[in-house]
């Protein structure tokens, strides 16, 4: 179909959890591939693995700067993609790979890992460890609407993707501490509980209604801060949650 957007998937230092999350859309993934997405290359799920020119590329994992191939592939991805999406905590913020000290077999000298935003310009973040199938699905549908939709759909997709683009501009580090420095210290926390629910390692409890983190447990994935309604919140988008949810579900029928 000519109307599809072309998509690629570059796999760097990630655990394939992001790939699995994408695949966990099950029938939704098949509909995406049938109607909206021409998957040009992807390790694991496609035959073609080498980077090609695409509209949107997803990058899983952080970039090992001691690995020449990884750096080259990342740069090539940037050069050949109109839009680069950092998929998952490692690509966005380094996540668990921040804790690498090297020494693992069979490449003991691979010790330095950077979020991809420290090597190339990134357009959109999908944080989370693992990112959720629904979040990947929503971004994929919105990316399609942005590139192929009507004027109205383009506006919606732009509004939807804007906070994720702003997250990409904001930086490449994340931690439970963001809740302290950017939410509580800024006088914005109202004790809803979102951060504790979002944390994949149960590092966050609420003491007297406010988040408390076990910082030694934190893997620096950025889920808590990005899930927080007081990190970023768009009334234009979220107030239309019902219509947007319905549109996404209808698109995947």
């Amino acid at each position: 179909m000519a109307d599809k957007i072309t998509v690629g998937y570059t796999h760097l230092s990630g655990c394939t959890g992001c790939t699995v999350a994408l695949a966990d859309n099950y029938a939704g993934l098949l509909t995406l591939l049938d109607k909206y997405v021409d998957l040009k290359y992807m390790p694991t799920l496609a035959d073609a693995r080498h980077i090609q020119k695409v509209d949107v590329s997803f990058v899983e994992g952080s970039c090992c700067i001691n690995d020449k191939l990884a750096v080259e592939e990342l740069k090539e991805t940037r050069e050949k993609s109109a839009v680069v999406v950092a998929l998952g905590g490692c690509a966005c913020y380094g996540n668990i790979t921040r804790f690498s000290r090297g020494g693992q077999q069979n490449q003991p000298a691979h010790e330095a890992y950077l979020p991809i935003g420290d090597v190339i310009k990134v357009d959109v973040y999908i944080p989370g460890c693992a990112p959720t199938p629904q979040m990947i699905r929503n971004v994929a549908v919105m990316a399609y609407l942005l590139l192929k939709g009507t004027k109205e759909q383009k506006d919606l997709a732009t509004a939807f993707l804007k906070p994720l683009m702003m997250a990409a501009q904001k930086g490449t580090t994340a931690c439970f501490c963001d809740l302290m420095t950017e939410v509580i210290n800024q006088g914005l926390c109202m004790g809803c509980g979102s951060c504790a629910a979002a944390c994949p390692v149960r590092a966050i409890t609420h003491e007297y209604g406010k988040p408390q983190g076990v910082r030694d447990l934190c893997i620096k994935c950025g889920a808590c801060y990005n899930q927080c309604p007081r990190s970023w919140f768009s009334f234009d988008v979220v107030s239309n949650y019902e219509a947007i949810n319905e549109a996404i579900m209808a698109a995947l029928q």
Binding site: G128, N138, A198, Y208, P229, S234, S239, Y241
Partner: protein, 308 residues
């Protein structure tokens, strides 16, 4: 319909037809009755509500435990719990006026609690969190479609637990454990004692104890809930109810058909929507001003604005 009340399909003044619920409830027993009905009908498998610390201590398996000392008696301290029976719901009924991070259970409710269809009650900001979580499920895998009924409560502001202690024990000179009910209404903070004593504090006294995070909130009547409710606008013992979403409309319609509520047209009751609109505008105007002041807070330095 002004933007200050959000989108809604219908609005009535209502109260539960269940006398037992009304005895435990803050006002018209809307939340308890609606969740009770939804449980009976299988619309939800359970609900996340604000129970007391005593309840969580007695039923740790129903609560999201934190690091507080559960042996330490703290009356009126809310703890979010997942309830699956009407009896537990009644035990959790009533407003606590301090922070209960109900959204913290939204994922766990679908995991170790095993719910496929979750009900949740919360303040307007918590409804915003729920909807953000459905559209942007960063860390909420498979949660969005499990949220079967989100009930919002009107909220002008919330208080930290320690603020409530100060208001009740210092200002109202009552012991926390002797309090039967707290209420904000008619421009006052009311504390009702178990022995029948009533103390009222002017809201001027309570303002400095408010949670700061509430001062940037631009939603008074839980615009993003399926159904939102609160005492304001309705006579004593009744609640104002906004039915907002398709889900809300469906559940409310079924509950009405089952005789769960008696209602009066909102146009017929005093003080009616006029007061709700007035208070909503007061809150939004005041907090928009706070947001503006935050933009020029320091010298060439702004405080962060979460809204984009």
């Amino acid at each position: 319909m002004g933007a200050e009340l959000g989108n809604y399909k219908s609005c009535v003044s209502a109260r539960s037809t269940d006398k037992e619920i009304l005895r435990h409830a803050q006002d018209g027993g809307i939340v308890t009755q609606l969740f009770g009905f939804a449980l009976d009908e299988g619309i939800i498998d359970g609900a996340i509500v604000a129970a007391t610390k005593e309840f969580a201590h007695k039923h740790p398996e129903k609560a999201m435990m934190d690091n507080s000392n559960m042996e330490f008696h703290e009356p009126w301290r809310p703890i979010p719990v997942v309830v699956t029976t009407k009896a537990d719901m009644l035990a959790a009924a009533g407003t606590k006026y301090n922070i209960s991070p109900n959204v913290s259970l939204i994922k766990e409710a679908t995991r170790s609690f095993g719910l496929d269809k979750v009900g949740i009650v919360g303040t307007p900001c918590q409804m915003q969190a729920v909807r953000k979580g459905q559209l942007y499920p960063i860390g909420l895998r498979d949660v969005g479609s499990s949220i079967a009924l989100a009930v919002g409560i009107f909220c002008m502001e919330n208080f930290p637990y320690q603020s409530i202690i100060q208001l009740v024990e210092d200002h109202a000179a009552m012991k926390m454990e002797s309090v039967r009910k707290m209420e904000i209404g008619k421009g006052k903070f009311w504390v009702y004692g178990k022995r029948g004593q009533v103390v009222q504090l002017p809201l001027k006294v309570t303002h400095k104890y408010e949670q700061p995070g509430c001062h940037v909130c631009l939603d008074y009547v839980a615009n993003l809930a399926d159904v939102s409710t609160g005492s304001v606008g309705s006579p004593d013992g009744w609640s104002t109810v906004f039915v907002r979403s398709k889900i809300g409309d469906s559940v409310w319609g079924k509950a009405m058909a089952a005789g769960c509520f008696e209602t009066q047209p909102i146009e017929k009751v005093k003080p009616g929507l006029e007061l709700v609109t007035k208070l909503a505008n007061e809150k939004i105007t005041k907090n928009k001003k706070t947001l503006e002041e935050r933009a020029t807070f320091g010298v060439g330095k702004a405080l962060r604005n979460p809204y984009i």
